[in-house]
Amino acid sequence: MRRILLSMGGLLVALLAFSHAVAPAAELQKVRVSIIPINDVAPLFVAIHNGYFKDVGIEIDTTPTTGGATGIPGLVGGSFDISYGNVVSALLASQQGLNVRVIAQVTKRYDRKTDTTPIIVRADSGIKSGKDLEGKSLAVNTRNNVIWLYARAWVKATGGDPEKVTFKEVPFPQMEDALLQKRIDAAFLVAPFSIVALKKPELTTVAYPYSDLQMGVNVGQWITTTKVMADKPEVIKKFVAGWRKGVEWYNENRTNPVLYSIITGYSKTDASVLKTVALEKAPLKCDLPQIKTTMDLMIENKLLTKPLDLSKIIDPLAL
Amino acid sequence: MSKKLGFDHVTKIFGGTGKDTGFVAFDDITLEASPSEFLAIVGPSGCGKSTLLKMAAGLMPPTKGKILLDGKPVLEPPPGVVYLFQQYAKSLFAWRTVIDNVMFPLEGTPGVKRAELRERCRDYLRQVGLAEFSDRYPWQLSGGMQQRVAIARALAADPSVLLLDEPFSAVDALTRMELQSLMLQLWQRKKFTAILVTHDVEEAVFLADRVAVLGAKPTALKEIVDVGLPRPRDQLTTREDARFLKLRHHLTTSLLAKSAEHVAAI
């Protein structure tokens, strides 16, 4: 018995030594990033694919989540270095004293023609306004985030009472099925899932809340914590630099088949549909005035009790 | 005398159909009890006396032969026949009070008010000496008292035949004597047919009109003895009677001889 234990111990030590020897001695630093598998993060995967991160010595390890409201807890808990989140979740976290920092803007609404974030319903449902949604259900990826906030704002703007609408949480990839199977009456989708869903004749668009309410709104963002920024400042700078290069390539190559195959890879949807729409431009920096407008909307909807000091939340890197 | 309950060439084999394949509990037993008779059946342990009684109760069918009650074959537990269990504690309903236990056979009697039925049960409890314990639960009573509840419950069913399966073997000697006297009182008052199964020869002789002796492996009826002692029986004087002692001697020898034979056979 003792001999077996000794030999197992020896084997273990040997394995550890071997793995240490084989691991590239601190050559590529791992960065753990939580993402949502949607179009918004395509430039990230472009940057990974084109080696922009490897060139500066970091390796991106991605984990999918359902949204910023789920990614940020992981970030705060230390499971991630950077999380894809949204402006609303970031401000809510700051309000509660969780020291988050926005390091880069990811999405922004530029033009209604390239807006791929509609509210979709079944064609035969007859829903055309927020008033029609009273007593019915609308799917959002998570509650208390930017999608939820602007859905409520749209309901109000089109004559409905958001308190009379039931908001159900459904992950983006499952929204189409949930709609078709009548588990929900409406869904606020993002690309590529919105594009795929609209190929079905049974589904139709009701509105583009972001474009209708606040053109230029800053939606998605890369978020990290003050702790990570203090511990790994160089890594963060390299991430943002690599990300920006990815954005630039993305903006130039929005009809490139290579892009489509990259998006298919991480979102697991059919790339061919992406050819049929014009993809939106990705931003290179945050717009503080836009974020301030969103903040006011949050205060109006009682998500925030008072305005926050944006200079403490939006890092100079993002501007 | 017409017979009340009779065993007509009754054979019981467990596990198998033939005498060679299964365990023969008893073989070709013919025995009968007359109305209002007190019949005792004695035999060594494991000779199948309880099985015999269960068949009389309709709880188990014979493999061959039949049990007849008033001339009709017994296939199911017949009305008017009550089996009193050896393990009275397990037979009483722990979730019911004493009086509710006694009420059990009477519940659902059509045309009679519940209050009247309860009064009848109280009377039965009085007859067994447990009137003040009506509202207790079985687990609050001693072994002897629990057996008396079981007897009261059996009485409530107004049986024409009462089958007693070693009912007093699990209590101490003094309680046993009290219960035996109680049983005789009730039997004399109600005049039901009583068939008692016991391994206690003295108990059999004390209580019964006749004693049937079963032999062991294969169990068969060895002999039936007339007790012939005067009634009412008394725990002291009857037990010192010369005939009592003679019967006791004879029956015990009969039983022991069987055991000796049994030992010799191994």
Binding site: Q96, R143, E169, L303 | A57, Y83, S91, A94, W95
Partner: protein
């Protein structure tokens, strides 16, 4: 009566360990050993809890959760006991149902939730079904085992008094199996509550589970914990209530 004080003593001792945990937690927080944002101190949580009460926000969701639980649990009890008795007393039914029961029983019911959403939609019916599915199996199994392990003397006693099958089930089998049935129902209590909360988180429109998730989404950790405390109190309260009921229903347990 000594019986009553016995029960009381046991209950008092039961409070000691949770109180000890709370004290350690509070001290750790006060000494700065834990991040107050991620894990607030019990004293702060209690303050949030008091706010919930004074704002009148507590009772709506609490009653909703309790209502969902009661409906699901009652249905599960009725179905579990009925099927358990049926399977134990009827060979054919047993043969038909046993494979189904054995397949479904070991599956953690939370795993069945997505399937149920697909087939039944995301509404109240589905939520009740989830709770019923979670709670029915312990009750069914305990009932079945309780009936099966009944002393045959009890059943033969019934037979010698010529009781009908129905009367045997109602007056003998059910009361005699009650201790085992209640044991199953006790297990089902915890399981049912867990799945009520899960169902509320995934598909509810309000209730304790819904609130906990919602507050987590907006990072209001302290209020989230306040609701968690409410949930713990609810679970503990239900267990205590169950204990009292059990004592009254089966006073003979362990005493024959």
């Amino acid at each position: 009566m000594s019986q009553r004080s016995e029960t009381l003593n046991v209950n008092l001792w039961g409070f000691v360990s949770p109180v000890a945990v709370l004290c350690i937690w509070e001290t750790a927080g006060a000494l700065g050993w834990i991040n107050p944002i991620l894990l607030p101190r019990p004293s702060q949580i209690v303050l949030s809890l008091i706010e919930l009460v004074t704002d009148g926000v507590l009772f709506g969701p609490l009653l909703r959760t309790i209502a969902l639980f009661i409906v699901g649990y009652s249905l599960a009890s009725l179905i579990g006991i009925a099927i358990g008795v049926a399977m134990a007393t009827n060979r054919i039914l047993y043969g038909l149902l046993e494979p189904l029961v054995e397949c479904l029983r070991p599956v953690p019911k939370s795993a069945l939730v997505p399937v149920l959403f697909l087939f039944l939609g995301i509404g109240k019916v589905t939520m009740i079904t989830i709770v019923v599915l979670a709670a029915v199996f312990p009750i069914l199994i305990s009932t079945f085992q309780g009936v099966k392990s009944l002393d045959p003397v009890l059943l033969e006693t019934g037979r010698t008094f010529q009781v009908s099958r129905l009367r045997a089930i109602v007056s003998i089998i059910l009361p005699a199996s009650l201790p085992m049935i209640l044991a199953g129902m006790r297990t089902a209590l915890g399981l049912g509550l867990v799945l009520v909360i899960l169902a509320e988180m995934l598909a509810g429109e309000d209730g304790i589970g819904f609130r906990i998730l919602d507050l987590q989404r907006s990072f209001q950790i302290r209020d989230m914990f306040a609701w968690i405390f409410v949930l713990v109190a609810l679970g503990g309260g239900l267990m205590m209530l169950f204990g009292f009921v059990e004592q009254r229903l089966v006073p003979w347990r362990g005493k024959t």
